[in-house]
């Protein structure tokens, strides 16, 4: 029964993505296209989610609450976010909506998710071998 909560969270998250229209790459790209016909919808998705989150996280276990997070801004964080943003801008898909689109049986989403796993694996591989060569 302990798994009912994460299951419901996944279900609610997925329904939220569907209702919000995040599952549609053209809407995401419409938000990212400031110089074209701009679609502000995604700002409301983020705003809505964070406004609930700001309240909810105050009741979360101490390890998740404000102030408990690491404050270290390092190169992997910034470079990783930059690469992520470039990929997001090319395809209009990020991991959550891509998984939802797989459940719509969309073949392109399936290819995207496989590529995503390969990318994540490549990053882990490089990190590991990089750490080995750097070791004194």
């Amino acid at each position: 029964m302990a798994l009912a909560i994460p299951f419901l969270c996944g279900l609610l998250f997925g329904l939220g993505l569907c209702v919000a229209g995040m599952i549609e790459p053209s809407r995401v790209l419409g938000f990212l296209d400031l110089a074209g016909a701009w679609n502000p919808s995604l700002a409301l998705v983020m705003g809505g989610a964070v406004s609930v989150g700001l309240i909810a996280f105050r009741f979360a276990p101490a390890a998740l609450r404000a102030g408990a997070a690491s404050r270290r801004i390092d190169a992997p964080l910034v470079v990783g976010a930059m690469i992520f943003g470039i990929g997001w801008g090319i395809g209009g898909l990020c991991p959550g909506p891509a998984l939802a689109d797989v459940a719509f049986l969309e073949p392109r989403a399936m290819v995207f998710v496989v590529a995503m796993l390969v990318g994540a694996w490549a990053c882990r591989y490089l990190k590991r071998t990089g750490a080995e060569t750097l070791r004194p």
Binding site: P6, L32, L77, F84, G87, G96, A103, V118
Partner: protein, 145 residues
């Protein structure tokens, strides 16, 4: 700036956003976990064994949502027409970047900002700016559709 009024859907965007925030809040309060789609997926492949069950349950719920949304809320499936090359390149970059930067739109963007994490704020601003720049370059400089 010109607003795309035809495709701008403020109410459904806001309601969907509130649902996403509620899901993240519930997972944080009841389970003490951060709702990050990339972290949950990647953690399944190489995370601690004891951490697998809740991740599988979450992903099962996530994969149940689209058929339910289609039946109960008559939400249309996405229209995807990007080339296979574009999709593959985008997926590789998103996976690599989310892994290196320890998070994606849900983990850094929704949960990180909600818990006032400075790291997540920097990550979110960075991927937003990179996304804006990429679309600008692709559509308005290189002329891709």
């Amino acid at each position: 700036m010109q607003i795309d009024w035809i495709h701008f859907t403020p109410w459904s965007a806001l309601v969907g956003g509130l649902m996403i925030g509620a899901a993240a809040g519930l997972l944080a309060i009841a389970q003490g976990r951060v709702l990050g789609a990339s972290g949950i997926l990647f953690g399944l492949l190489d995370g601690a064994r004891g951490e697998r069950a809740w991740r599988v349950a979450f992903l099962a719920g996530l994969l149940m949502a689209p058929p339910l949304a289609r039946l109960a809320l008559s939400i249309a499936p996405p229209r995807m027409d990007a080339s296979w090359f574009t999709i593959t390149l985008a997926g590789l970059l998103v996976g690599f970047g989310a892994r290196l930067g320890s998070g994606c739109t849900s983990g850094h963007g929704v949960c990180g900002l909600s818990r006032l994490s400075l790291r997540s704020l920097v990550a979110t601003l960075t991927f937003m700016l990179a996304g804006f720049a990429t679309v600008f370059l692709a559509r308005h400089v290189l002329g891709w559709s």
